[in-house]
Symmetry: C2
Subunit: 342 residues, 2 copies
């Protein structure tokens, strides 16, 4: 049967002061009505039923996620410590196989905004079918719309089937010139949407990912804490996909955004005629290309451009949109009493 693993961790600094450690990006209604975590599960309707959606997250988010997401209690896998996506996905896949030896697994992240849910499901269905047919770990590549330097790229190789190709190589976070070259060469964004059979994933991990597979006996013994003590944090990309020869790529024909920065809201939210994204009580006059988000107090913005203005959680942030990518440096420069939101 088909299973989905939703990676719902994430520390929530990119959308400060709206995001906090207790309410990171994936719990925020960035694209509209619901949180991206809720929307991610709703998007699977007809493809994977809720009782087969497994959520992986840290303990700090467990209570919030359980109350937010209408899923069986045993489907929440709570990491005792952060260890990147490798241990999380290998654990969740192992858990799916424990419940269903024939499990096919779709892996996705809880913080995506997707433009066309039906196209997303068609692609995911295609990836799951290809994972079974070709017995490979299948990545979904999204056609790039800009030479983004913050993403990983997949360079497709030889055709395996209709719309399915081998992977020639991966290229993680290239510089701007390389990103342009990759786009020109037909490389795809590595969306983080993956499909595999549990059987193949665990077999490949045993061969290629000793950082995690060496600790699997702890899981067999039912000791999650011991498993996490035994693993070395490593991403699924570095720890397995880039090492295994048994990978493939299918192309995703849907608008996809991981909404990585305040500036990204301009891609996933409706804009006024002057290119401003305005959320909450705000009046924007004679201004263009601003992101204005108010959680409570009316914000009046007059005569400015390319600014991010946010009021949330008792803090106010004003910066040029171009600085949105450097939130970590900004937060590092703040005194803890201002940075840390209770």
């Amino acid at each position: 049967m088909r299973w989905a693993v939703l990676l719902a961790g994430g520390s929530g600094t990119r959308f400060w002061p709206l995001s906090t450690p207790e309410t990171p990006k994936q719990l925020l209604p960035l694209s509209g009505a619901g949180s991206t975590a809720e929307e991610s599960i709703e998007r699977l309707a007809g493809l994977v039923p809720r009782e087969r959606v497994i959520v992986v997250a840290g303990a700090s988010l467990a209570t919030r996620l359980r109350s937010l997401l209408n899923l069986p209690a045993e489907n929440f896998l709570i990491e005792p410590r952060p260890a990147s996506t490798g241990p999380a996905l290998i654990w969740a896949t192992w858990e799916a196989r424990r419940r269903d030896p024939d499990a096919e697994v779709l892996s996705l992240h809880a913080d995506w905004v997707v433009g066309d849910a039906a196209a997303f499901r068609r692609t995911a269905d295609h990836a799951l079918a290809a994972a079974r047919t070709h017995d490979r770990l299948v990545t979904v590549g999204v056609v790039p719309s800009r030479p983004e330097t913050g993403y990983g790229y997949i360079v497709p190789g030889a055709p395996l089937d209709q719309g399915v190709r081998t992977v020639a190589r991966f290229s993680e976070k290239p510089d701007a010139a390389t990103a342009l070259d990759l786009m020109a060469a037909g490389a795809l964004w590595n969306s983080g949407l993956f499909a595999w059979t549990a059987e193949r994933l665990l077999a490949e991990a045993s061969r290629h990912t000793p950082e995690v597979s060496a600790a699997l006996p702890a899981l067999e013994a039912g000791d999650v804490a011991d498993f996490f003590l035994g693993v070395t944090p490593i991403s699924i990309d570095v720890g397995l996909l880039e090492r295994s020869g048994a990978v493939a790529v299918v192309s995703g024909a849907f608008a996809w955004d991981d909404v990585g920065t305040w500036q990204a809201l301009a891609r996933v939210r409706p804009k006024d005629p002057n290119g401003n994204v305005v959320v909450g009580p705000a009046v924007v006059l004679d201004s263009h290309d601003c992101i204005v988000w108010s959680e409570r107090d009316p914000i009046v913005v007059s005569g400015v451009q390319d600014l991010v203005v946010v009021q949330a959680n008792g803090r106010i942030l004003i910066m040029p949109t171009e600085r949105a990518a450097a939130m970590k440096q900004l937060l590092d420069a703040l005194p803890p009493a201002v940075r840390d939101i209770e």
Copy 2:
């Protein structure tokens, strides 16, 4: 004896959202610890005692002013309706003469920031003495530090005495080119600081200001409401000083600012090394020439310049400093629910 009349009216739109109809500019601690109204009275220490300071304001401010300013109850003259400075000053001068037939009156505004209180007192003392000696209405002119188009100018005429000259003419709110010409010609800013004997002021008003003097019998009859019904709103400058030949000007040797806009805070408040004025909990990074005022929430400003950022009374305002002079137009563009502060 010497009396002072403090004009404490004013509608409080220039410092929105910090200023409100109930807490206009003169009740705000714009320059530092106390409100400019309090500071205006303290600045008179040694020149005019508190029991001879008369405050004129509208009913909406009466309660706040009475509790803020430690003055005798009978010294608060409450205008039943706004009627500009002509009726206010003629009424207050009439009241001073009723209590003290020999009254000398110093007229000042409650929203000034003055750099050097001792120099201010020396100038006021000089103006009061000149008003008695020359039996004229004495204006105080401040040497301009910039070609300000928002002020009135006084062009001095012939010398009357040490530091006392006649007035050749007044020039109200000149355009920028005219303001430069006026500065070059030695014109002075009309500060609004005036000195006169009550006797001379009331005699001149009887001759030149029928818009107000025709209603004086109502005051004689003890009916303030009737007096205000009978006057035509007119400023003391237009209604009397520009019409009377019995005027003079003395030069003020003190830094004076009416703090007319958010931008003006940069002239009266200490700045950080990058020219930012920061009041309240705020962190200003990689930014210059900003005015940041927070009443409550920490504001983080990063990578911007020449911005006014204010959080006050449940509103947040962001605009370029150059827009500070056009607050009225900005407020006119706001929906009442955002503009009107409860």
